[in-house]
Symmetry: C2
Subunit: 399 residues, 2 copies
Amino acid sequence: MHRKAPLKIIGSNAERTRLHNRKVVLGHLRSHGKLGRAELARLTGLSTQAMSNIIAELEGEALILAGERQTKGRGLPAVQYTLNPAGAVALGVEVRPNAILCALVNFLGDTLYTKRIHIKSSEPAVVLPAVKAACDEALSSIGKNAPPVLGAGIVMPGPFGRVGLTGAGKAELVGWDDKDPQALFEDVLQVPVRVENDATAAAIAEQTTGSATELQSFCFVYFGTGLGLGVISNGEILRGAFGNAGELGHVVVERGGRLCSCGNRGCLETYTSRMAASEFLQKRGKSAESQKDLSDLLAANDPDLEEWISEAADPLAQAIGTLENLFDPEAVILGGAMPPELLERLIDKLDLIDATVSVRADRTLPRVVRGASGWMTAALGAAALIIHDTYIPSISKVA
Amino acid sequence: MHRKAPLKIIGSNAERTRLHNRKVVLGHLRSHGKLGRAELARLTGLSTQAMSNIIAELEGEALILAGERQTKGRGLPAVQYTLNPAGAVALGVEVRPNAILCALVNFLGDTLYTKRIHIKSSEPAVVLPAVKAACDEALSSIGKNAPPVLGAGIVMPGPFGRVGLTGAGKAELVGWDDKDPQALFEDVLQVPVRVENDATAAAIAEQTTGSATELQSFCFVYFGTGLGLGVISNGEILRGAFGNAGELGHVVVERGGRLCSCGNRGCLETYTSRMAASEFLQKRGKSAESQKDLSDLLAANDPDLEEWISEAADPLAQAIGTLENLFDPEAVILGGAMPPELLERLIDKLDLIDATVSVRADRTLPRVVRGASGWMTAALGAAALIIHDTYIPSISKVA
DNA sequence: AGATTTAATTCAATTAAGTTGAATATTCAA
DNA sequence: TTGAATATTCAACTTAATTGAATTAAATCT
């Protein structure tokens, strides 16, 4: 993940074809809810016979469930298949300098279990066993005959690799510098592991269970410690060459503006982020370290918080304009570790740029919508990422 | 292209598998130059026998050429295969309001023919026959027993669809509003057609024959009428939901800055673009409408042009920082319809932001490099896009 | 109500394109 | 000169698709 692996382009054979087709079927079932074999055959461009075989295989593994026959006009009513929520589970873990957040989700991405564990050090020797224990507990929470574990998604603070953007107010993990987190976690957990950044994971959660289930292209602005961005474009995750794409917090919105901890001036995250809010409020003698603090202030119509929101909205609106022009998303979603009401207020205050490629006559969605938020967002997203991988073939899309 | 087509995710069968594998083989041959069957089998994860069959097929179609056996240590020396430059050709067309630029390239993307044709109107009824005639002439220029034509890439001014970013100094084509250019061109030319925006096409040209042949992820800043951006991320073209991604010219770099024709203030293209340069120089009583004018002024060390370059470099540097943080590319490439020397000067003047995710200890490439430039860039890129499609499977990448 | 049409699904046979293992050719190294 | 290493081909086999005919059940027609 943090080293640049020259991407291997490989050939296909019968086995990989079947694997691909299984994913294609699961993906269609996810987005349509329920479908019959014949309909699936049409959607996928495969023969009904092939579809029957694939369906039989998936049903045999309990990944899908046969439902009632549904009559739709003439002809034999089609047996409707749906994803089996209990067909599989996935683990999600967010590693922070002083805590581990662990989540378990079912095959639809719905939350089954969450837990927060305090850690004294973020070194691998401490983190790895703690994560192992947390995952074991999560799995035992759902009883003995648990469904297969598809894997574990791990969220760690980026950016990855030795980049000139460290100490940027980032919650750095010590002791992980020259380690390969994926290999280490895979070794300890004994399931397939994927490591991602928080914003991307949260974006996938949004697509799996949140407000982006219908979207193929969107930008997810993630309020974490800093300000991250997860981009899904035509169904694909945008990672960049080194997995560091989406460093929205350090996009300059004001030349020569506020000094940022990264050394530059005018970074978005000095205006619009949890950190920016708490610093602003601290100057007014108010503490707003936790989400609850912010919620309370907002509920009390605190004028200082209102003032911060107004102040933060402009740079954010400008940045959103940039995202629209560069990524041409269907919508921009705001989420993460901020109280939902605060995000709503922020969205209300946005004075969006009125000429970007996203200003279209035929829009159905608002340009900016609120997404899922809360402290577990990233961990749940990490788990959703694993589910996502079982739906999304790394393949043949046809316009 | 300009309507949002819900992307179809389809299954695979034996036929599609072979098609995929052919592309995989061609792609490896393109990036490695020459390879033997066994090596190709290893790279693609296929059996040597399967590779032999695929190679035989491709050789039969004259898309690849068998070369000398090459000894590499022990064992039977492997027959080296290369792409056959004369194996196929592709057409590229750029449609502008008053001209059509037509190009023909060989299977490696090398230029075989270029031509500029003046048109009186940009309406379909005028453009379509003119393009047809231009393409016919291009093809007849290479003689009677010409290789197969893979298709035609068409570059037309974006943005596509009815967006709120029109009249943005854009060279608009009249009469194309509710038309489907792809279908129209396919109908007239009788070959597969792809429609793209100029910046993306130019980016692909850069990857096929320019300075990005080794890159999987890069941003191509295209100086056209305005300022465009083509993004290739992990080998995939970033298009956005409606094909309008990369509208770099209207990214705001200065809040409340210069008034742009789009109605906003502070758009990058009001500072850094051909338009901006000619306006600047016009105020100083100098004309710089053509590339030649700019070349001449630069050769003469014109102080006004130097001043413009200095002035244009800062906003551009800031925008490049944004691109780095959002896309995490291997490099940012500057190219398009600007004299190469001017691009060099501009790059020299760039005072890049010194803390972005692209600032890495282990960089091998400069953060910003100059790419191909010239008036034909977009048309050649359109043709390169067709070549690109025959190399790039829409598929299974494995990290 | 009974016949006909339509659509979903399965059955049986076929086919495309891969894999596997043995055989052959060519070179390097001892 | 002989044996090991590597590339390639030959022949047999396997996987997972396709095709066309048969079966089932609902909707519509007479």
